[in-house]
Amino acid sequence: MNPQQQRVVSVIVNGREYTGTVPTRKTLADFLRQDLRLTGTHVGCEHGVCGACTVLLDGQPVRACLLLAVQAHGARLETVEGLAAADGTLHPLQQAFQQCHALQCGFCTPGLLMTLKAFLQENPAPTAEEVREAIAGHLCRCTGYLHIIAAALQAAAQLRGERA
C-alpha cells in the first residue's frame, strides 16, 4: 500500500468506531456514504456552497465535501444518523422540523440539522436574526426558509426546557 495514495482511516461516528482503507483523494462525504453506508449525509454541490453535506467534526460544523477522509483520521464525527435516540425518539430539532413543516423533499435537512445542533449548543436562546445568519450557508429549494427558522426557535425553546 502506497501511503501517499491509500491509507487506513479510523473515525468515531456517532459514538461508534469505524475503520476503512481509502484512497487519499476520497472526500469525507464519499467515505461516509460509500464506505460506511451512512447515506444520511447528502451531497449537493461538492464545492462547499449548498451545505447539504455538513457534519460535526469534533463538535464543529464542517463541509464533508471539502475534507479528505484521511484528514478525519482520529476524529469524532456526528452525522444526522446520530440525532435520534436509540429507541427511535426523534431529537427535539427533528420533532420541530416535522411539526413546523420545515422540510419538503428533505435533501437539505441533514445538513441544516447538524448546523443547528452545534449552533443551539453555543447559543441556546437565539433571536430569529441569529438563526438566519446561522443557516445562511445552507440552500433549501423547497421551503422558503421561514419554517426552518420557526423550527429552530421552537427546538431551542424545547431544549431550554420551556414549553414551545
Binding site: 501517499q4 495514495q5 487519499t24 465535501c65 471539502l66 484528514q71 445562511a136
Partner: protein, 293 residues
C-alpha cells in the same frame, strides 16, 4: 472519486513540510483549511502532483499577543481568530471582517493564512491586512523573510510566495489609541465574496483631529488597494460628516476597477465611494467613543 490523483503527505514537522515543498516545487499544493483548494480539486481545475497537508503540524494554530502585536500561525482558523478575545479587543477590524468570509461552517476550517495565500481579488482579508499594515512571514528551506502585506499581493490569485515557500505567520502591529474601525461590503447574498468591500481605520489626536485615516478596498482591481488620496485628504484635519463625504469621493481617483460578469466598472466605482463614506463615518464615530472612554 472527484479529485484527481495526487500524492498525499501529512508532515508532522515544519522541516518535513518545507523539505516536501523544496522537493516538489510548483508541482505541490499546500492544503490548509481546504475551503478554496478542495473545490478546485473536486472540480478538477487543479491537478497537483503532491498535496502537502499542514493540518497535522503541531503548534501552528496559535493566536498570540506579543510585544510586537498579534501573531497568527498558519493554521489559525478564521472562526478561532474571529472569536479570540485578544482579536476582538485589540484588532476588532479583523474580527468584524471575518464575519463576512463565507459562513461559520467555512470559517471553522478556513485559515487566515489560506485566504491571503489564495489572494482572491474579491476576498475580504487581503484588504484588511493592508489596512492593518500586516507583516507576513514566509519560510522555506532557503530561509525566512518578512514582507509587508502591500508587497505580498501581486495579481489575482498570485502572491509573492515562491513555490517552495510557506506562509508561516501573520503579524499585526498594535493600533494607536483613539482608533475606530469599520468593515462593510456589498455582495449579492450574505456570505458571498464582496462585489466591493471597504476597511477603514480612523485615529484621532488629543484635540480630536484626524491623526491618521486608513482606507483599504477589495473588489476594485486585481489586488486590494489603499486609497491614498482619501487618506491624505484627512490626515491632520478636523473631522465632520461633510469632510468625510468629500474625502470619500476622492476614492474614485485611487481606483480603476474593471467590468466583469458580477458588476460594471461604474457600479464598482459607485460602491467604492459609498462604502468609503460609510466606513469612514463609522470608524470616526468609534474613534470618538474611544476618545471619551
Amino acid at each position: 472519486m472527484k479529485p484527481p490523483r495526487f500524492d498525499y503527505y501529512d508532515p508532522h514537522s515544519l522541516d518535513e513540510a518545507l523539505a516536501l515543498l523544496a522537493r516538489y516545487g510548483p508541482e505541490a499544493k499546500v492544503l490548509a483549511g481546504g475551503q478554496s483548494l478542495m473545490p478546485l480539486l473536486n472540480m478538477r481545475l487543479v491537478a497537483p502532483a503532491a498535496l502537502v497537508d499542514l493540518n497535522r503540524l503541531p503548534d501552528l494554530a496559535y493566536v498570540r499577543v506579543t510585544p510586537a502585536g498579534l501573531a497568527l500561525g498558519a493554521l489559525a482558523r478564521q472562526r478561532q481568530v474571529e472569536r479570540a478575545e485578544a482579536v476582538v479587543q485589540g484588532w476588532p477590524l479583523l474580527a468584524a471582517a471575518l464575519r463576512y468570509v463565507g459562513y461559520p461552517q467555512i470559517r471553522t476550517r478556513g485559515t487566515v493564512g489560506g485566504s491571503l495565500a489564495h489572494a482572491d481579488p474579491a476576498a475580504e482579508l487581503p484588504a484588511v491586512m493592508l489596512a492593518l499594515e500586516a507583516r507576513l512571514v514566509l519560510s522555506s528551506q532557503r530561509g525566512r523573510r518578512t514582507l509587508p502585506a502591500a508587497a505580498f499581493f501581486l495579481a489575482p490569485l498570485t502572491t509573492a510566495l515562491a513555490p517552495d515557500e510557506l506562509l508561516c505567520e501573520v503579524q499585526l502591529p498594535p493600533l494607536p489609541p483613539r482608533t475606530g474601525h469599520s468593515f462593510q461590503e456589498v455582495s449579492r447574498v450574505w456570505g458571498a465574496f464582496a462585489l466591493v468591500g471597504a476597511a477603514a481605520l480612523v485615529t484621532l489626536d488629543d484635540a480630536g483631529r484626524c491623526q491618521q485615516a486608513r482606507l483599504a478596498l477589495t473588489g476594485v482591481g486585481p489586488v486590494p488597494q489603499r486609497a491614498s488620496a482619501v487618506e491624505a485628504a484627512l490626515a491632520g484635519e478636523p473631522l465632520d460628516a461633510e469632510r468625510l463625504r468629500q474625502a470619500a469621493a476622492l476614492v474614485e481617483q485611487d481606483l480603476n476597477p474593471e467590468s466583469d460578469v458580477h458588476a460594471s466598472a461604474a457600479y464598482r466605482r459607485h460602491l467604492a465611494r459609498v462604502l468609503a463614506q460609510r466606513t469612514l463615518q463609522a470608524a470616526w464615530r468609534r474613534a470618538q467613543e474611544a476618545q471619551k472612554a
